[in-house]
């Protein structure tokens, strides 16, 4: 789960990390009021969206007086920001962070992530602050330092010192830097984070050490012990279909194409997306109905897939293990009844209770539903039928 920068900073502040003074604003007036209260010569107006690359996309403005703050706030609120990470459709700005400007002397990078290989949390630091860490890793990997953390002992003081020396902080700020590292680690562990990133971490001309930007991501599996984090969820940042699917305990990712698929199991669902593309189709989504499907869940999956005009065909690809083919088939028939099918649906069923499942579909005689005896044939057929459907719709329009 993602949260906004201003929310991340509030959490980090509660763990003792030094962040700039500031507050969230939802209107230009509120922005002006916060800026007045801050009273600093420079105020930063930052668009709050769940995507990086905001600075380059014009989502971060420096204001030198209250009128500027108001002007920039009006400009940004409601604007759709297209950054490297948002995709071409961009994201609408609904919130701003109004923050005291800092007198930056030097920028650094600091983060905590999970290292899959060693099964440990790792602290990463670099002198190359403000750049994307992936770029640094690509171009100058020798500039990234790592400290692997024993989960029982925690982050040791010597590790924070070693990191601070390697990052070439000047002696005057070493104590502040090592304290910030420890506080950031405590936040990472305390809130079940999957990422805690400060980029840039800055040292000011006054020798303050400040987390100028902050990004926290959370382990979805750990959210049950953090209702305070769950409460920060901003649904307007999430794809409405992905949101609806999550509520129905379906795993859905929108991929933008027009050939939808409904599959059981994450691996087979990914592979189904791939095979649609392999035969020339544009996959609309990844959708895993999970291992314990019910008729209602299948019907809901169809509702989500057909909820807009995006989709021109649906490929149902099921290998019944724990899932039973007859339940899936009954779900498709139910979906045809209560949701209605407006595009061709090609169904490949194999595995547990396959004969029963196929019989249910044969008996129901839903005109949109076509059975495919083999997965390969099914994938080819749905790509063909979706293209036909799209052409038909264009001709009618």
């Amino acid at each position: 789960m993602n949260i906004h920068e201003y929310q991340s900073k509030q959490i980090l502040k509660s763990y003792g990390v030094n962040v700039p003074n500031g507050n969230a604003a939802f209107s230009p007036e509120e922005a002006a009021r916060i800026a007045k209260d801050l009273g600093t010569p420079v105020v930063v107006v930052k668009a709050q969206i769940h995507a990086g690359g905001r600075g380059k996309a014009g989502g971060v403005k420096l204001a030198h007086n209250i009128d500027d703050v108001k002007f920039y706030a009006s400009e940004l609120l409601g604007k759709t920001l297209v950054t490297k990470q948002t995709g071409p459709e961009g994201k609408q700005v609904n919130r701003l962070l109004i923050e005291a400007g800092s007198d930056i002397a030097k920028e650094y990078y600091l983060s905590f992530v999970i290292d899959r290989k060693t099964a440990q949390v790792v602290m990463m630091g670099s002198e190359a602050g403000g750049m994307e860490i992936e770029e640094v890793a690509e171009e100058t990997p020798e500039k990234i330092f790592k400290e692997f953390i024993d989960p029982v002992i925690g982050l040791m003081p010597f590790q924070t010192r070693r990191m601070a020396y390697r990052m070439h902080f000047k002696p005057e700020v070493l104590g502040k830097v090592t304290k910030l590292m420890t506080c950031l680690y405590n936040a990472f562990i305390g809130k079940d984070c999957s990422l805690a990133e400060i980029n840039p971490l800055v040292v000011t001309k006054q020798n303050d050490v400040i987390a100028l930007d902050a990004k926290l991501n959370f382990d979805d599996s750990g959210l049950f012990r953090h209702p305070d984090i769950e409460a920060l969820r901003d649904e307007s940042e999430e794809d409405p279909k992905e949101r609806a699917a999550a509520k129905a305990a379906l795993s859905y990712v929108n991929l933008g194409g027009d050939v939808a698929c409904m599959v059981n199991g994450a691996g087979l669902a990914m592979a189904t997306v791939d095979i649609i593309k392999f035969y020339g189709g544009e996959p609309a989504n990844f959708l895993d109905v999970g291992g314990d499907s019910t008729v209602e869940k299948i019907a809901e999956a169809f509702r989500i897939m057909q909820s807009d005009d995006q989709v021109h065909g649906v490929f149902v690809n099921i290998f019944g293990g724990i899932n039973k083919c007859d339940v899936i088939a009954a779900g498709i028939v139910e979906a045809a009844k209560v949701v209605g099918l407006r595009v061709p649906v090609v169904v490949r069923l194999d595995g547990t209770n396959v004969e029963k499942g196929r019989q249910i579909l044969v008996d129901a005689q839903v005109p949109e539903v076509i059975m495919a005896p083999k997965m390969e044939d099914g994938a080819k057929l749905i790509v063909e039928l979706a293209a036909k459907k799209a052409a038909e719709l264009t001709a009618n329009a």
């Binding site: 999970i114 382990d219 059981n264 994450a266 990914m270 592979a271």
Partner: protein
């Protein structure tokens, strides 16, 4: 034969009185698995399915029955503790089915396991099945036929799919291992490949990977250096967008790392044939076996 589990495995089911666990215990027993005990705290003295004795702790089950292998069907918030309990009781192998265990819990589990002898399969996995001998987890039994190909996969349904395709093509199996879809887990491809390499019954291995992490790349390097038997591959997630979690917690391309293209390249570089689509896994296996002169021997069903 096969690997990790077989006729001689004595199995304890952790969380046996839960609905899913009881159902699968029944399937395991019907398959001939030697289920000797179950554990649910507070339910010692009960019998599940009229025959499997329940104990309060794994240690009690081990002391009373000599159990050496466990399978865990316990809700996510308690599962890390259950794994540690099994490790502490000195089990040889633990299979954890549970999905959605917090990552930080698994990091602590892995630390707890250091220096101890227990192997962990999973979590978030379909389990393991040695054909006609032993089944731990969720894998449907009827799709398997005895033979000489080992299966290892990060995905549950793809384990079933590939096994089914092999069986339909007349290629029987030794053992199928689902190592699970989580970022922090127990054994990885290499440990399983190593075991298949040493198993006389296994003549070839089917390896099913997916996006996220670098386990497939490491497996490819290991195969190139050590594997004496042909390996056939498949990778799902070619079309996955970066930064998006594709169902499995571990199936995510992050920082440009973990793409399907990288993995396929690494496997190909190690001389491993990779099926072009999920529909061609069985077919690709047949071709590779024919090329290696193993088809006749592997055509067992």
């Amino acid at each position: 034969m096969g690997i990790f589990v077989g006729k001689n495995s004595k199995v304890v089911v952790q969380g046996i009185t839960g609905k899913q666990a009881t159902f699968h215990t029944k399937v395991m027993l019907e398959y001939g698995t030697n289920v000797v005990a179950g554990v649910t705290p507070g339910k010692a003295g009960e019998k599940v399915l009229g025959q499997v004795p329940v104990f309060n702790t794994v240690q009690d089950a081990v002391d009373e029955t000599g159990a050496n292998v466990s399978v865990i069907y316990v809700p996510a918030r308690f599962a890390a503790d259950s794994i540690c309990e099994g490790v502490d009781a000195g089990l040889d192998l633990i299979v954890c089915i549970t999905e959605h265990i917090p990552v930080l819990d698994m990091i602590r589990v892995r630390r707890f396991m250091q220096g101890k002898n227990t192997k962990l399969i999973g979590p978030n996995c379909p389990g393991i099945l040695t054909v006609d001998e032993c089944r731990l987890g969720l894998i449907p039994t009827y799709i398997h036929k005895k033979g000489h190909v080992g299966v290892v996969s990060r995905s549950g349904t793809l384990t079933y799919e590939v096994t089914y395709q092999l069986t339909m093509a007349g290629i029987g199996q030794t053992t199928a291992v689902g190592i699970g879809g989580d970022p922090i887990k127990g054994i990885d491809f290499i440990e399983v490949l190593d075991a298949f390499n040493q198993d006389d019954d296994t003549l070839a291995v089917m390896l099913i990977g997916e996006i996220g992490g670098t386990a497939e790349e490491e497996a490819a390097a290991w195969v190139k250096a050590n594997m004496k038997k042909p390996v056939i591959g498949f990778i799902s997630g070619r079309q996955a967008p970066p930064g998006k979690r594709m169902g499995h917690a571990g199936a995510i391309i992050s920082g440009g790392k973990g793409t399907a293209a990288d993995k396929i390249r690494a496997l190909n570089d190690a001389g491993i044939e990779v099926a072009d689509t999920v529909a061609h896994m069985g077919e690709t296996a047949v071709q590779v076996l024919k090329k290696a002169g193993l088809y006749e021997q592997c055509h067992t069903c």
